[in-house]
């Protein structure tokens, strides 16, 4: 299987779906002439032209609303936010319009659209440009929320998202775009709502998604050397959440650590913990621990940013704690 970057995997999915269905179009800041702020839409303007690859002014609320309107009358918009930090300005369209239209209209107007872009922190972008919004978006009924951590899942989930007749929030990552992995060519669709056990192990479950999947895989190698085998459940989508996959893993390992990029309070990890204690109450040999960003706005200074972010060291410490090895 060809090894490609997460970025190219996304571009493949976009290109293939744009070719497959001429109702699909991509809109956002710098997506066309500039080939994308992060080059995810590279070459698409040349192939599909300006009516389908659409540069917008800096008006997140406005163009998200344009996507909503286009979806209401049968187009299949892909709305790119340069980053999800700026999508904060457009949440009224995502939450009050896209997520509720089908319900408010009693089933008359479905919303076949995707809101996508990089989520979470990159490097030294400071407080306003380093936020991870998956827990906010997963909170909202009427949405689906994808958080692929690998190139293959990025391609397969994006194709599924574009074909879905519901509004799908698709969270990528600047730090993921250059990561590489095997990606099936052509038709490769990953179902939304199905977790993937990225690695099997009997000692402790790691429940995670998005960027932190890479950290999980890394610490799994390190800990394997110490004879600690991790069972890594990559949720892949945080709405819906594959509770069964989580339960199966924890029932096997009796221990769990939840890794996420964002803040602690009401983060994804809290919800995963809630599911685990409900589904696996009698299976747990230790409290479930969480690893997440420190409870501070993201600082600029390199050393402070490193301390603020969840990482391998913090994750290993948590695993050892649930294994009572510390």
């Amino acid at each position: 299987m060809p090894v490609v970057t997460y970025r190219d995997a996304l571009t493949q999915a976009l290109r293939e779906e744009l070719q497959r269905d001429d109702r699909v179009f991509l809109m956002g800041e710098e997506v066309a002439q500039y080939n994308g702020a992060y080059k995810v839409s590279k070459g698409l303007l040349d192939e599909f032209g300006p009516m389908r690859i659409v540069d917008t002014p800096i008006t997140e609320l406005g163009f998200a609303g344009v996507g909503v309107g286009a979806a209401m009358v049968g187009l299949r918009p892909i709305v790119e936010f340069m980053t999800w930090n700026f999508a904060l300005l457009a949440l009224d369209q995502v939450v009050n319009a896209a997520a509720k239209m089908l319900y408010m209209s009693g089933g008359q107007y479905n919303m076949p659209m995707v809101f996508r872009g990089p989520n979470g922190a990159a490097l030294q972008l400071s407080a306003q440009h380093s936020q991870a919004w998956e827990s906010w978006l997963a909170h909202i009924p009427g949405l689906k929320v994808c958080t692929p951590g690998t190139p293959a899942d990025a391609k397969g989930l994006l194709k599924a998202a574009i074909r879905d007749d519901n509004p799908v929030v698709f969270l990528e990552g600047e730090m993921l775009y250059n990561t590489k992995g095997e990606v099936p060519e052509g038709e490769h669709v990953v179902p939304i709502g199905v977790a993937d056990v990225k690695r099997e192990g009997g000692d402790c479950s790691i429940i995670t998604h998005g960027k932190m999947v890479l950290v999980a895989m890394k610490i799994a190698d390190d800990l394997a050397k110490e004879g600690i085998n991790l069972d890594i459940v990559d949720l892949r989508t945080v709405r819906p959440i594959d509770v069964e996959a989580i339960a199966q893993s924890v029932q096997k390992t009796n221990r769990a650590v939840v890794l996420e990029e964002g803040w602690e309070i009401c983060g994804m990890g809290a919800q995963v913990v809630d599911f685990i204690q409900r589904e696996c109450f009698d299976d747990l040999d230790a409290p479930v621990l969480r690893v997440h960003q420190e409870d501070v706005p993201m600082p600029y200074a390199k050393n402070l940013e490193r301390l603020a972010k969840p990482d391998a060291a913090k994750s290993i410490a948590a695993v050892k704690k649930v294994l009572y090895l510390d």
């Binding site: 163009f63 344009v66 089908l102």
Partner: protein, 360 residues
């Protein structure tokens, strides 16, 4: 409704406006043919449409008082010439989107009065099966895209509909209604820039009833002459007497022509007045507007204005009027009966329509 012919003074708003330079050459009163060259039959249809809205909403107020309608309920009474005039000039395959004050436009667009009343009553037979309510009337049949509750939120959505029309190289248009207070919110600004930048066939209609809830336009809007805003977007703006259904039709015909031929958007200010409170919980007058102001403006009740013109043209007898009015009342009563006898949505419908399980 009193029907004796009265002198018809311009509304306070119109007089006020006249002191200002017109924001557009093509403003009210320049229509050539009397009553816009309509036929007597067309005029009857316009009167009938406006009367239906009036009688229907009078019953809504009654039903709300009886607790049959709940939540927020915003009546359109006093503004009917705008909905009727607009809908009479667009095509069935055009699109309409509006805010929460949506009963009048829904009726004028031809949505079943029974289904609308049932929606207000929260019944399974309503336009949204009772899930939307007064603020969220949707009807795919007539391309009626709702009923939206966040001020200004649907304005970019209208631009998106225009985008889709352009994308498909269609020659439909999208009409978007909103109140004058919505012109101060960001979504309006972003949408108008996009619509003009991209040449989208959208008619943006500001229903300037001079109040946003309890706030007079002079207390919310730095430049009360709101159509001036259009220039900032390189868009044609026009200010219209929204109480004269023919003036409304004229302005819409120009805007529709512009949308279909030139693929350009238009910003229309329809000067009107809200005869009832903002919503059922708001007093009709006394808090933020005087009884005198209200009565002054009620003299230009759009239904009376139209009725008087027809009456003076000698084409409408008292008998004719009463017949039309009785029909409207009968439809309102029938809608009430239908809604009242309709079942509540079954409990299991709580969980439907959250997501669809279809894919492309």
């Amino acid at each position: 409704m009193s029907t004796e012919a009265k002198p018809v003074p311009a509304p306070a708003s119109a007089q006020k406006r006249r002191e200002k330079p017109q924001s557009s050459p093509a403003a009210e009163g320049e229509n050539k043919a009397p009553m816009g060259g309509t036929t007597p039959e067309e005029r009857r249809a316009l009167l009938k449409s406006m009367l239906l809205q009036r009688r229907f909403e009078e019953r809504c107020a009654e039903a709300y008082a009886l607790g049959k309608i709940g939540g927020f309920c915003h009546l359109y009474i006093g503004q009917e010439a705008i909905s009727t005039g607009t809908m009479s000039m667009i095509r069935p395959d055009d699109y309409v989107i509006t805010a929460y004050r949506d009963h009048g436009q829904a009726l004028a667009r031809g949505i079943s009065p029974r289904a609308i009343m049932a929606e207000l009553f929260g019944r399974d037979t309503g336009t949204s099966g009772g899930k939307g309510g007064s603020m969220h009337i949707f009807d795919k049949e007539t391309n009626f895209l709702g009923g939206h509750g966040i001020v200004g939120g649907h304005v970019p959505v209208a631009a998106g509909v225009g985008f889709a029309i352009k994308y498909r190289r269609g020659n439909q248009l999208c009409v978007c209604f909103f109140g004058e207070a919505a012109v101060n919110i960001g979504a309006f600004h972003e949408a108008l820039n996009l619509a003009s930048l991209w040449d989208l066939p959208v008619i943006f209609i500001i229903e300037n009833n001079r109040y946003g809830m309890g706030t007079a336009i002079s207390r919310s809007t730095a430049n009360e002459d709101v159509v001036v805003r259009a220039q900032g977007y390189r868009m044609v703006g026009e200010s219209v007497d929204g109480q004269d259904v023919f003036a409304v039709r004229d302005a819409i015909s120009r805007a529709a022509e512009r949308a279909r031929k030139e693929k350009r958007p238009t910003l229309l200010e329809m000067r009107t007045y809200r005869f009832m409170g903002h919503s059922m919980s708001d007093a009709v007058s006394g808090t933020y507007r005087t009884k005198d102001e209200l009565e002054e403006n009620m003299k230009r009740d759009p239904i009376i204005v139209l009725h008087n013109m027809m009456h003076e043209a000698g084409e409408l007898t008292e008998g004719d009027l009463h017949k039309i009015d009785d029909e409207a009342k009968a439809i309102a009563q029938d809608s009430w009966d239908f809604a009242d006898s309709s079942p509540e949505p079954p409990p299991e419908k709580l969980y439907t329509d959250v997501l669809t399980d279809t894919t492309s």
